[in-house]
Symmetry: C2
Amino acid sequence: MQVTIINIGDELLIGQVVNTNASTMSRLLTAAGMDVLKTMVVGDERQAIWNAVDEAMRESDAVLVTGGLGPTKDDITKKLLCEYFGSELVESPMALDNVKRIFESRGYELTPVNRAQALVPKCCEVLNNDLGTAPCMWFPGKTVLVSLPGVPFEMEWLMRNRVIPKLQETFHTDIIVTKNILVQGIGESFLSDLIEPWELSLPEHIKLAYLPVAGLTKLRLTVHGNYDPAILKGLYDLAGKYIVGEDCETLDELVHTTLIKRGLTLATAESCTGGNIARLLTAQAGASAYFKGGIVAYSNEVKESVLGVKHSTLAAHGAVSEATVREMAEGVRQRLGTDLAIATTGIAGPDGGTKEKPVGTVWIAVANANGTEAKLLQFGANRRQQNIDRSTNQAFAMLIRMICQKH
Amino acid sequence: MQVTIINIGDELLIGQVVNTNASTMSRLLTAAGMDVLKTMVVGDERQAIWNAVDEAMRESDAVLVTGGLGPTKDDITKKLLCEYFGSELVESPMALDNVKRIFESRGYELTPVNRAQALVPKCCEVLNNDLGTAPCMWFPGKTVLVSLPGVPFEMEWLMRNRVIPKLQETFHTDIIVTKNILVQGIGESFLSDLIEPWELSLPEHIKLAYLPVAGLTKLRLTVHGNYDPAILKGLYDLAGKYIVGEDCETLDELVHTTLIKRGLTLATAESCTGGNIARLLTAQAGASAYFKGGIVAYSNEVKESVLGVKHSTLAAHGAVSEATVREMAEGVRQRLGTDLAIATTGIAGPDGGTKEKPVGTVWIAVANANGTEAKLLQFGANRRQQNIDRSTNQAFAMLIRMICQKH
């Protein structure tokens, strides 16, 4: 069963907003055994929307459209779909009840602009949107079209609770298994050479993809049909020492589940990563089970006063040095009383580099009761966000290796 | 001049990766006066790529394709384009020099897999990719096609330094002005009612869009032609008290530029936002001019030991309370010796709520030498990331208002 996704919005076409809706929808559809054939983004322009819908209706079993359903004047999707399906707008009692309920719960008066949100094409079925005032509209037919609001959390709730169950009911769907393996410490092309014999031995119904992200390569197996975990033995034989984890999307997810499983606590002392490590961990529900807290020690004063890095260390070696990163990790571990600690200090760029310590020079340390390990990274690149992301992933990989070898 | 973007990659279609390339490319093209007609994502499938390219070639002046250029077996773009343009693969001396240079600089041996990256269709012009081994290929013609690597930083560098200058040289391009106004403290539909008279008075060449993100509404004016700043007076007359800034994409950018301009320093004490405020500020180059550091005080022990929140305050009022958030803001401001401080404490969810303090209850405080302002927010929603993002934006808006009123 093949699905096309159309996301509507000028803000997407001019690049003001990253289109997370497409990836959320794709992930949910794939997990439910449906194939995403294509995703498209078009602006709030009548002809562009019409053409995209018309094309998608001809080549897919289902077309999911987001956006353009708000109460404001730049939102034109509903009227256009009404015309496309040769229907007329009528007030839906269910949609009106929903709009009233939401306005009452917020203590607001219903304005005419908001009441108009309950108007829908006569030929569609309204799927109730518990989280917002824009209706979700299901247009039945040989190819089904579903129109959803573009607000990410409303869209996601509707996908999970209304659209996917109804698609599964309407269409017959295959089972697809996706398996992730996280590999760190080897570049994509070297990894490709190393595991080539295994890759060539994979059966036809298993597809392998390489996905390098910030110093990490995610290997993704997509399995249409039966999956036997024994298939991974050949991969581990060739590249086992580079594999840091399985069955997770990211290293922060792996750190999160590993620390919870092992009952260990963590503190962070971040300079160049600026809080990125802490926020990735705390973005996950349940982080308070292991994460006690972190210090973003951006200035040297804070490294001294809050983390206890010695003034003489900073004077002799500088903030970006092995001695400093070790004292940061040990200081935060001791002050916050945790089993484990991570520390980062470096020059993320684009400015601040010197000849001895160019932009991209980063020291990372992880500490536990047995000691501290520190590593120098030289990304050699003038790209701030990438240096932050790579430092973050390196820190997570070092922590995972420390936990798995030493506990 | 109309551009279509095609991003290739199974990882995008199954939703494992958010497609940031489309938004980066769209932003750069728009800023250079080019219209993005449509963006499409297709998987690593021959027929899907072929159809997307063929369709885009018929309806655009330029087609930009990313992805599928890596050294691994799932990358098929180059061969397919070679066939599409009826050409043959030849080794490009320039591309080979580039591959060699990059491998030498990293101290690696050149493998046959990597040498094959220098093969390109004979009919294309190679645009040198200074940052990576995959070549950027320009196929001239009535409609131009450009194939770029999908690695985000390589793609962005190539867009800025190679592709856009060459597109501007090849095509005549209009000037488009984009103007952002950040509005906070009023919902989208109420804002729409409030500013309707102004909106209706806008001339035809100015288009208005509403973009709500995490408690903030970005109003975007897209101007094809002349822009007179006086057009904003009507907006300020109607909604001035809700406007927190202009000419920036996000509130963290506004805080960053405001603090640098005014020479003020900042510290953060984050509980429910978990480091998100610090990492957004430090993601911007130059943050060390004002950001001294932050404490991610996730546990109560850290609130006490590092921030100096009184044990009796936590015992009497709890961690999520006005008294605690005030002591957090004042504590971090005093300990880190800054002009300003931000503090957050709340229940981001999905667990941890009680009847008195349900999930979505958040206290935010901002402090300066004149005192502390605290605000209770009740998002009433069980969505962790949204609660974190909204709390972050509220904190930034409160800080901006404090700076602009009181300094």
